[in-house]
Structure formats: C-alpha cells, structure tokens
Symmetry: C2
Subunit: 581 residues, 2 copies
C-alpha cells in the first residue's frame, strides 16, 4: 500500500502520528522557502508542508510521508482543516501534463472539452459526489428488495428484435450469418417469463438500449431498476415500491415523504396539471373556464371545445413587455399555442384583461373565481382541443413555476398517477396503440368495454397501470400484466396485430402463457434520472460515468468507429455508405 | 394479494388459521372421494385436501382458501409436512397445457426440449436453487465491497472495438452510418480510466461479450465481478480479494477456508500440476524423472528433453485392458500423447513396467522413489517438450483424480497462482503476446530484462499478476497495471505494436495516463463459474437464467434472427449471405 491514511481522514486527534499519504496535487504554492501542497484523493484534501522550494505541477501524483501537526491557521471549510502534514520525504509517483481545464467545483472547461477528457472531469467534486450517490442508491435499492425476498436475476443482452416501441440496436451474428441479435429496450418479456417460471419476486438493475434520434438528455444506453411480482394486485405493487422509495428518501437523503404517498388519476392529472407527470411542489392548477367565457362574442373562445386557465400568483404587475414576451413564448413550436389571453387582478382592486372588449368586469371576476385567483395574480388563458390545450397550459404552468422559483430541487413531492387509459387512438395511423405496452391488463371492471367493437368504448377502458412521478418527472411506471391467453389475444386484435404477426413476433410468450402464467405485475424505474433528481439535478449526464453526447458518440474513446474489412466479411456484411459520405 | 401465506411457510403452530395460498399444481390425486393436491410456489410445497373429486391438470395455477390442520400421515421430507390445508374454496387462476416434460428434480426432458421451454425448466428445484444462490453470492459480494469502500460504477456497453484478445461483437450505428460500436469483452480500459479519475476503489458486476467459436460451456455473454484499486501493490489486492472470497465461503456456504490462502508460483504449478489452474484437492503431483530414466537405451525417453510421472494411488491392480484403455485415452487428440509408460508397484512387493526390457528393478525403484510412489500405486509416465509433457501429465492427473473420486465438489481448495511470465512467445506468429493483457506491469525487479533486446531475457520477465484458482478452475485473475507512460510504450514495443498502431488503438488511454495515473491494480472474477462451483457443479448453464446453446442461439426466443430490409437500409448495411445459404 502506498499510503497509511487517505487525504480525508486525519483530524486533530491524529497529531503526532507519522503518516504516508498519496494523491493528486490540487494546488501548490511557495511561501518563504516553504511549499504548501493541497493533496487530493477520493476522500478529501489534506495540506502538506514541505520545508523547501518544490516545483510540482497540478495533478502530479505524489506520495508523502511526515508528521501530523496542528495548523496555525485552521481551515474550517474542510474536515481535515485543523491539521497539516510536516513532510519528511516526498516521492513523485507520476507526472502530469497541465490539464486542459481546471479541476475545481466550477471548471473553466467547456462541455466538449470536458467530455473528451472525461477522466479528468470525473476528478471534479460534483461528479464524484454524483457517482457516489448513484452507488449508494443502487446499494439501498438492493438491500430493500433483498430484504423483501426479491431475487436479482440477470436477463440476456443478446436477444431478439421486437417490433413494438423504439428502434432496436442490433448485433450481427457471425456464427449465424445474415441473422442479428437485438439489445434489449427492457427485459419486459424475460421478467414476465420469470413470473411464468415461478420466481415470484424478481428485480434487476439493468442496462437498456434504444436507438432513438437523441433528444437532449437522452442516452442510447440507460439503466433501469426493473421489478416484477406474482400473485399481486395493483395495490400490492404500489405498496411495495412506495416502501422502496420511502426507504431511499430516508436512508439516502434523510427526507420523510408522506405515508401513504398521494395518488392522482390520469384524468385529474391532465385536467389539473396538463401533464401525466405533474409537478405538485406548487399549485397554480388548471381550471376549465369554458362556461365562463364562451358565448360572449369572442370568436377564438367560442370556436373551440375547451378554454382553460391558471392563476399565476403575484404576477399582476407584469409589464406589457413581459406579457408580450410570454405570448411569444407560448407561440413557439415547442408549446404551439396560437395566442395568450391574460387577466390581471391588480393590487389596487381593478381588473384588466387583454380581451376587455368582450368581457365585463363581472365576467372577469367570474373567471377569477373559477380559477381561484387572488388579488395580485395574473390569470393566463389558453384554448383549443381539450387535451392539447391542457398540455399547453401544463407547459406554461411549469415555466411560470420556474420563473417564480417554485421548483426547489431540494423539495421532493412524489406521487402515483393511476387509472391510465389502456389505449391511445392514433388519427394518423388509424389504429390503437397501447398506452403502456401490449401486455398491460385492462381494469377487470372495464372488460365489457374492452371486448366491445366500438371505438368510444375502447377509448374509455382504463389500464391497471401506474406511474411514479417526482417533481414533474416520471421516474417509473408499470402495470398489472395480462396473464390470460384470451385477454392477450384480444389485446393484439385491438392493436391490429394479426394472428400470424402475433405468432411471429410474440409467439414464444403467447405460448409460455399457455403453461400456467400466474397473475403478475411490476414496474421499472429510470435509474439515471432517479439518481439525478436525488442529487437535485435535472440532467442525467453527470450521474453516468461515461455518457454519450447528443449524437450518440463517446467522444473520449471516439466511438462508434469504422471496423476492419475482415470483420465485415466475417459478419457477411457490406456497407452501403458511399465513401465520400 | 392473491394469498395470505406462501406454500413454504406454514407449520404446526399455524394449525387453526384460515389461509389463502396460490401456486402451481405439482401433483393431484383422488382418493376415496377426496382430492389431494401438492401446491407449489417458489417457497415450497403445501398439501391441500379438497373434499370432493376435482380434476386439475399438472401446472394449473390455483388459489385455495381453507383451514390449516394437522396431517395424519406427516411428511418429514418437507418443512410443511406436518400440516395440510382443508380447502373451503378453490379458484382456478389459469389453466396449463400438459408440460412437455416433468417438473421434477430429475426431469424426463432432453436438453434441447428443456432449452426451448426454459421457463418451465426454470420451475424445477435445482435451477431455482441455482438462481437463488447466484442472487445470494452477488448480494454478499456487493455487501463486502461496499463495506470496504468500493463504489460500483457502471461502464458503457456501447464502446469501441479493441483489437487485442477475442473477437468483438459489434453494433452498427444508425446515427453514424458505416460506423460500429463494440460490446465490451471486459471493462478493462474504463476501470483503469476510473483509477486515473481518482475513484480509488471500483467494482462492478458486469456483463461481458466475446464473439468466440463456442466451446462447450462457454457463453457469448457472461458476467464478471470486475474490480480495481489505486495506490496498491500486489499484496494489497490479494489481501482484499482473499477476504472477499473468505466472506463468500463463510456467509454463503458456511465453509472456512485457510487464512492465509495458499499461494503457488506459476512455475511450481506447471512443474507439479501441469496446469496454471491446479486442482489441489488431491496430491498425485508430477515429478520429473528425466535423470532417472534417460541413458538406459530407451530411445523414446532419450530423445526428449523431459520425462515426467505421477503415482496413481492404489492403481497397481489395473488390468492390461485398463492400461490399454488409458493408453488410448492419452493418445486422443485432446491430450495428444504418443504413448504411455506405466510402472506398477504391486501389493505383493513386485514391480512391473511396460518398459521392463530397458530398466532393472533397481532402476524402477529409483523412479518410484523420485515419484514418491507407494506399494499398490501405479506410476504413469509421459515425455516430450517440458511444458507440453507437463500439461499432458496434468490432464492425465485430473482424469485419474476423477476416476478415483478425489474431486469432491463439496470440498473447496482455493489458492492464488502468482509470478506468471509477463510474455508468451508465439512460434507461429514470431512475436510475443501478453500472457494477461498489454496493461499488466512487469515485476519491478525484472525491469532490466524487460528493457533488454534478448528474447531469453524477455521470456523470464515475471508479471505482477495473479489468478484465483478453485478446484482446478480459474475463477479470477488480474494484475498490477502499468501506470507509467514509458513502461506502457515499451510494452507495446515488445508486443510489436507500432507507435501509430498504438496511437490508433490505445491512443486515448496512453493519453489519459499522461495526466497523472496513480499506481493501480485489480482483478476480475468469472461470476457464472463462481456460482456454479459454489453450487457444486462444473457447468455454468444452470446458473444463468436464459443461456445460449453451443451455437450461440437462444432457442427459446429463437435469436438471433433476420431483421427487416428497412432496418438494414437504415443501418446502411447489406447482407452478403447468399439466399440459399
């Protein structure tokens, strides 16, 4: 061992001991013939004092032996700040080129440069804390689930391409020319087979893969906490994983979350928050005001099925410039509103709107009452198709929450969203899609509708499905699965998947279900995002040791890259990319 | 919840309680107007008694409610054997087709059939025990390493193809046409980068991938316990992981293993056991007898550099037929000997060999003394090039150990193999290969030889490398890594990897090492095989939930398989497989 102590452990009680430390030179400064060195390792920083002039570059790796002494000028900011090491011998273990950016909490390096030198960026404290937190959460998850009798069972990564959902990454098989494995988008099928196999309580912290056109903060590979249970109903699953999240909050962050955790139906979430992942850290809920505002001659409102509004607290003093800016903001394609109507409840008791010529003060006060607005608030109104308008209001609500500082990352407001619709109709494709996935069970009390041929009946079938939402982010979701072959066949029928296609695509699981599938259900949590939110961050990139960029590239190792012609031949593959491309 | 109790938990103390159980019908028999059902779940089997004739197929999933009563004829073989459930109501949750093989400890199904219906095979007790053991070992590994301050850090699965070692599986990148990711053969590079990044103690239970022509009991995807530490020397790594294995043996199997664990140099292992993974559960070690047998006119021995022998205890009574069979056995290509000489030390005191015309009884007694053979033993002699002959003797030794029942899977004899040669010379390719991998450090005391240009100097350089061997199987191995750029460059030079090639293949890690790489080292354990050996099995397939067959196929889901032409186009790939192929 190159050290007797780490750079984070020595205290005033260690004074007098002779120790050896090893680590990186965080900082080195000469002063009156002495050299002061801040030596850093994973565990902290300790000051070394060398009694001569020493030239050590930043990030040199050194080993130093000396006596622990009390510091004259203590540093209360670090746990080792009461002591320093009076160095007797020093040994340079490795030199370092000057890093291309500073290894400080706030680095001077740009994102691209830090990505290229990820191994240096990872030396910075915020990233170290992020990965330590990730380890801690994974460990707590495993301890909780192990104590509850869950078995962690590894499922294969080289599987078969499945047609539903996003695009698969595929892996050519050299031993089976012309054939491909696929990398799993999730272990969904396998965990259900494990339930058929009688494993009862399964979990896995597992990598998943999706070949999507990457949006910001999406990764082609990501990690899930994947879980499944047998002989359970929805209530059992919610209870089990509420318990898991509660124990994580308590053991990792020392935060108490409500017991029981709040629940909200999907319909309420959409109506009140315009989102199936509502941020309930703040109110400002959406209210429908169609009956209050329609029939007053304002064509915009009269021509749509839905008018809704939120009351933004204390925003009555917004200037014309500010409301104009907000109007432009909602008209951006990301939101997609055609315009924005506002009503200000001024502090002086007056009321003023952008549509005064259509509405009397009394009309506006009725709206204010419907929206539960108070003096000093500004009401923001959007309209259109119901769900679309609600969604826009939801986006606007979150934006106003941000602007008003209502979204404190240190406040945690988890809840379950339940009672999802089972199916979503796609106008474009003229067919139903499964809102969760094709193995999600309809609520037993909705089975009549499920077997109906009418579109409107099918649209109102609710699923035994649930999402875990935290601070406006969906952290997890799942469902009770279909375990009866005839219900599964009906599901494929509703989704327009023919018998032959179903047999080809899902044959093995349909078949498996014929051999005694138990009632079962489960869920999966997005692990990267769970870590980020626990760390008080919105982006996941710092919580992944070696993430890819938005083009799916690892710029540090320069992957993906070309492969040898020999390897292409062995795989019986030819590239159709033009060489100039 | 569909149950109040599992099928494994009810005892005599529960008599009188009303309970609900759910599970699979293991067995159902009618007797005098009653039906007796063995109901099975993950936790055990409980007998149900129904007071009428009931027809339930094997593997039906049922739910039954009734009173716990004391059994008249108790079954001492199962923990629930004192009680049965007097059923009041029964509910068929799902029917089952008749399984294609019996769900018993010894199934009547063939391997292929069981592979196709893996989800049914997994219902059998031996497989359930195997996966439970796997979970338990993984959990203990994590607890031990967490307590030692290790962080589990996930490394990417979509990486860059690396040229050393086995073939990579590759993944075409749709977003980067003509380019490929590779699946990692191990996280070697990343764990070393984590050390450069200062993470100090890293581990990961991680999937690895190798596109090899599959031998029996190899899998294209397999799991490793991958570990790395900074500021350590070989002794620190051995101590840490000896501790891990000791805690696994104790906590999982309640087996005490020696402290400290035995160590053996690679040279001793080859000389005495003819293997770098010696099975030390039994003796029968190899002895060189060149000086005893050469120069007696027996051309076969005189024309080779090495003659070696083992003394097989109690085998002097082997018949001519048996020795003939043994001779044929060593002549098989898998062993590759040209012939076998034997010397029998008969119980009656006589000595008899297959080469009596060249050797006097006194000559033979000298050999017997050299081999430490006792009366009743049979000495088996092979010859040739030293390492080749030793390897053949090693294979023969293990075979004789098997035949004599000396390899009890419930006996555990772990040891470290140390002092490996750093380099292996390939006559075929006329170049050196790294015996472990190109990042393994030479022993500091051998650096002069390492920098020498002479082949014989380079051949005697030892590595700071170590293997963990259990019962004749290499379970793990690792090394202290090269952390100095100039030593790494020399290593590439010795391996015939040119500057440009090294820059192209390993540029990023060579570069990383210029920014302050700490001294570091680590190792990886084969997790699948560790589980199998802990379970007393030699084959890993039962310890993997969904393994592939020897052609790399998952016959249950039928993967790999063809993919759509659309997907091929998106990936800019064309198949060069002829349609008839």
């Amino acid at each position: 061992m190159y050290r007797t102590s780490t750079c984070g452990e020595l205290r005033i009680s260690d004074v007098g001991k002779t120790v050896t430390l090893a680590g990186w030179v965080q900082r080195s400064r000469k002063l009156g013939g002495m050299t002061f060195i801040d030596l850093r390792d994973r565990y902290g920083i300790t000051q070394l004092v060398v009694e001569n002039d020493l030239s050590l570059g930043r990030e040199f790796v050194i080993q130093a032996t000396g006596k622990v002494v009390e510091r004259e000028s203590k540093n209360p900011k670090i746990p080792t700040g009461d002591i320093e090491i009076k160095v007797e011998s020093i040994n340079i273990l490795n030199k370092s080129l000057t890093p291309p950016f500073t290894i400080e909490d706030q680095s001077d390096g740009g994102e691209d440069l830090r990505a290229k030198y990820r191994y240096l960026d990872l030396r910075r404290n915020p990233l170290k804390k992020a990965l330590e937190l990730r380890h801690r959460i994974a460990h707590e998850v495993r301890n909780y689930l192990d104590a509850q009798g869950f078995l962690e069972i590894e499922t294969p990564y080289l599987i078969k391409s499945t047609p539903e959902g996003a695009r698969d990454f595929v892996v050519p098989s050299r031993m089976n020319p012309g054939q491909f494995y696929a990398l799993p988008q999730s272990p969904q099928t396998f965990k259900q087979l494990l339930m058929v196999a009688g494993y009862d309580r399964y979990f896995q912290i597992v990598r998943c893969f999706r070949d999507e056109d990457l949006r910001a903060d999406r990764q082609p590979e990501f990690t899930q906490i994947d879980c499944e249970m047998s002989f359970v109903e929805q209530e059992d699953v919610l209870g089990m994983f509420e318990g898991m999240m509660r124990s994580l909050f308590k053991n990792v962050l020392d935060v108490d979350i409500p017991n029981p955790m709040p629940r909200m139906s999907w319909y309420d979430a959409m109506d009140k928050y315009g989102s199936d992942k509502p941020d309930v850290r703040f109110g400002m809920t959406i209210h429908e005001i169609s009956s209050e505002v329609q029939g007053h001659g304002f064509g915009v409102f009269d021509s749509v099925p839905y008018v809704g509004a939120i009351a933004v607290p204390g925003a009555a003093n917004y200037t014309r410039k500010q409301t104009d800016e907000l109007t432009e903001w909602v008209k951006r394609p990301q939101v997609g509103a055609k315009g924005l109507v506002y009503i200000k409840l001024n502090e002086d008791g007056t009321i003023k709107s952008s549509v005064d010529k259509f509405y009397s003060e009394e009309d506006l006060r009725k709206v204010a009452a419907a929206v539960e607005a108070k003096t000093g608030d500004m009401i923001l109104v959007l309209c259109g198709q119901k769900r679309k308008a609600q969604t826009m209001l939801g986006v606007l609500r979150v934006e106003m929450g941000n602007r008003l500082g209502l979204r404190d990352p240190k406040v945690f407001a988890p809840l379950w969203i339940v009672d999802f619709p089972l199916l979503e109709w796609s106008e474009e494709d003229g067919r139903f899609y499964a809102m969760h996935h094709p193995f999600t069970a309809p609520k037993p009390e909705h089975l009549d509708w499920f077997y109906s041929d009418k579109k409107e009946d099918l649209e109102r079938v609710c699923a035994n499905a649930y999402d875990f939402v935290l601070n406006g982010t969906e952290l997890g979701g799942g469902s009770i699965r279909i375990h009866e072959a005839d219900v599964q066949e009906r599901m494929f029928q509703v989704l327009g998947i023919g018998k032959e296609e179903a047999e080809y695509k899902f044959g093995f699981i349909i078949n498996a279900f014929k051999f005694g599938a138990p009632p079962h259900g489960g869920l999966a949590f997005g692990f990267d995002r769970t870590c980020a939110l626990f760390g008080g961050q919105e982006t996941i990139r710092d919580y992944i040791a070696f993430p890819k960029n938005n083009q799916g590239r690892d710029v540090m190792i320069d992957a993906p890259s070309k492969i040898d012609a020999v390897q292409m031949d062995e795989l019986c593959l030819a590239s159709t990319v033009k060489e100039d491309a």
